[in-house]
């Protein structure tokens, strides 16, 4: 199996599974507890049908949309995800370059393996930074200031990760950062010599944005869950979010809003966007899926801030349904990470190309000239 055989989510996932050591593959692939929410995130789209309009003289549809003050060429962008150099040595550089090439947004995690400055150097495309509020305030301040200096377009504050989700696959595979060889995982590393060779011959693994502030995640083998529990501040509240907004003073989103009440409050504190997300089903299992919740939130606040649906997106039609239900754009993590693991920058480009083609084709089939024509009248919920 090869990159050119990858036509969809499952193909990229299969190829990534072949290339990545098992603990790393399962870190991407897994969710929390029984993975009920992880599965629902995608299945939710199937409880809603698209209703096309015909003979609408569509021509070439306009897929562009504007978020965080930047126009992007397609209504789908890369979610911020941690430690991308575990999947390919180029890590964030590969995904940032691919995003720029397709005119969409790249997002950087606080726990990225390249620094804010390194990415700003190689990409002029739209860039979003994903902030975590650390117990040590100076880490948070430093990150915000550096994003401004590096001309990032927007900031999103993660609010669904006060405590790490119970990711049982990681408990079983013994996933840590940097990767640690255990007796159980040895075999799966040994069977992927190409990954091991690249990992050992490239830049040393580090959490580039925070390496000078803390040795966690770089010198000590830590599970991601331990890192979250030790470094992130569970006391974080609305005042802390407001503080970040003021300090940043630009387009700002809360990432992980799920209730209508919180969405309204996000407007009050000055957010320009929210990302409806349950962290890809990796945090609170049994929690509602973004697509199940997007319409209620959009009905309440859709005219006052940008709504981004994050989670479960695997198809162009998923994006169309999300936009019809009220989202301004979608973001995706797992799918592009599998493509990154499967083929580096080229892999991500292929995934973006596939999604671009699917969105374009289905816009035409729907009879929509632009993303703004997708509205509630284009979908019917089955129940």
């Amino acid at each position: 199996m090869n990159l050119k055989d990858c036509y969809n989510f499952n193909d990229f996932r299969r190829l990534a599974k072949k290339k990545l050591p098992a603990p790393i593959f399962h870190y991407i692939d897994g969710g929390s507890d029984d993975e009920i929410t992880l599965n629902r995130n995608t299945n939710a789209f199937n409880d809603c049908d698209l209703v096309p309009n015909i003979l609408a003289s569509v021509g070439e549809p306009d897929l562009s949309t504007t978020i965080f003050g930047r126009k992007i060429d397609m209504p789908l962008f890369l979610s911020p995800t941690a430690m991308q150099s575990l999947y390919t040595p180029e890590g964030d550089r590969a995904s940032a370059r691919a995003a720029e090439k397709y005119g969409t947004m790249y997002s950087m995690s606080t726990m990225a393996s390249f620094s804010i400055e390194e990415i700003a150097d190689i990409s002029n495309g739209p860039k979003l930074f994903q902030l975590y509020v650390h117990k040590d305030q100076s880490i948070t301040d430093d990150l915000i200031d550096r994003c401004r200096a590096a001309n990032f377009d927007g900031l999103c504050l993660t609010v669904d990760t006060l405590v790490a989700g119970n990711r049982e696959r990681d408990l079983r595979t013994g996933f840590t950062t940097p990767p640690k060889l255990t007796l159980e995982s040895l075999l799966s590393f040994a069977m992927r010599p190409e990954w091991v060779f690249k990992y050992l011959t490239n830049k040393k693994f580090e959490l580039a944005n925070i390496k000078n502030k803390t040795d966690k995640g770089t010198n000590i083998a830590k599970s991601v869950m331990d890192y979250i529990n030790e470094q992130y501040d569970p006391a974080m509240n609305w005042e802390d979010a407001e503080y970040c907004i003021k300090r940043w003073n630009g387009p700002f989103a809360l990432k992980g809003v799920m209730s209508v009440e919180d969405a309204k409050r996000a407007i009050d504190i000055g957010c320009t966007a929210i990302m409806i997300s349950n962290h890809g089903g990796r945090q609170l299992d049994g929690s509602r899926s973004p697509f199940d919740q997007v319409k209620a939130i959009s009905d309440a606040v859709g005219d006052k801030l940008e709504i981004i649906l994050d989670g479960g997106v695997r198809r162009g039609t998923h994006v169309l349904k999300a936009l019809a239900a009220g989202a301004k754009a979608c973001s995706f993590g797992k799918m592009f990470l599998f493509s990154l693991g499967a083929g580096g920058q080229q892999g991500v480009e292929r995934a973006l190309q596939n999604m671009h083609d699917e969105i374009r084709r289905n816009m035409i089939l729907m009879g929509c000239k632009s993303a703004s024509e997708l509205n509630n009248s284009k979908i019917i919920y089955k129940k």
């Binding site: 669904d160 989700g165 119970n166 809360l254 992980g256 799920m258 209730s259 609170l284 049994g286 509602r288």
Partner: protein, 382 residues
Amino acid sequence: MNLKDCHNFSDFRKLAKKKLPSPIFHYIDGAADDEITYDRNTSAFNDVDLVPNVLRGVENVDLSTTIFGKKLDLPFYLAPTALQRLFHYDGERAVGKAAQKFNTMFGVSALATVSVEEIASLVDTPKMFQFYFHKDRGLNDAVMARVKAAKFDVMALTVDTITGGNRERDLRTGFTSPPKLTMSSLFSFALKPMWGINYLTKGKFELPHLQDHVTEGTSTTTSIGNYFSSMLDQSMNWKDAEKLRSQWGGHFALKGIMSVDDAKRAVDIGCTGIMVSNHGGRQLDGSRAPFDQLAEIVDAVGDKLDVICEGGIHRGTHMLKALSLGAKACSGGRLYLYALAAAGQAGVERAVNQYRLELERGMKLMGCTKISDLNRNNLRFR
């Protein structure tokens, strides 16, 4: 596989399966008829989603709740279950001590294998006794008197086992109390020699609350289904329940209430709690799941007595959903029985601690710091 590899309900189940002779494992694991209700008890939780609130400042979470006038550190307790020394030689002793360690309640069944007196001497945290209404009124009076003397906190009358459920796995494996070696089960006992050695050397198998009155279950082998069908009084009615309640005098619950009408009637006869339960799917197959029925019952009587959601709970998030609907607490049997079988007291402690951690994590992710923060605004039904 080892105790430290057990991260969830299914892991404990797997380890228990490895340790127990198959008739005993399937006695715990099985349910009535086609096990439709048994499966639904858990899958019902998936028809509702949690909707978290963010940025609430959740560094300290208080999981305590008060039921039957007792403050527990956890919003769940260990439901009474029969025959625990068949699962691990320490049986109720292990479960009671584990519950005590976490300051939650545990229940002792009339079909327990350790006496209420011994339990009372080991455990000073809240205790519940599960009463079965026998035809033999002398037995009923004697048991009631002993439980009272042992100063148990709650009396729960079982109302859903008026006759034995059709537990087909037990028919196939030949499960009886005490265990009987048959040609077909011989092999499965022989495969678990440690269980056999412990059973034979760690003290005689007894049913201390019953054996002075009846031989069934101790010196005469019987299946649990047969025991219920032949020994319990099928004429039991509301008057009997009311009489038992006044005879007991303290906190009194009916275990196995499923209809709103019955819940209201429980209030009328002076119950202070009810367990919404179908006996873990082991009695009437096709009957409604506790979680499916919870909202109606809470709406009708939730302000008048403690409503407990019992059955199907495998996760902290299941409990969060039940508590959000208005249950005062949750309980379960398999919740800790596999862990008991897997490793005795240490197993039960590990299981209880995992549920505690799951609840604490779930509360934080929901944006809640105390149980009373949970309400129906947190939920959306699909």
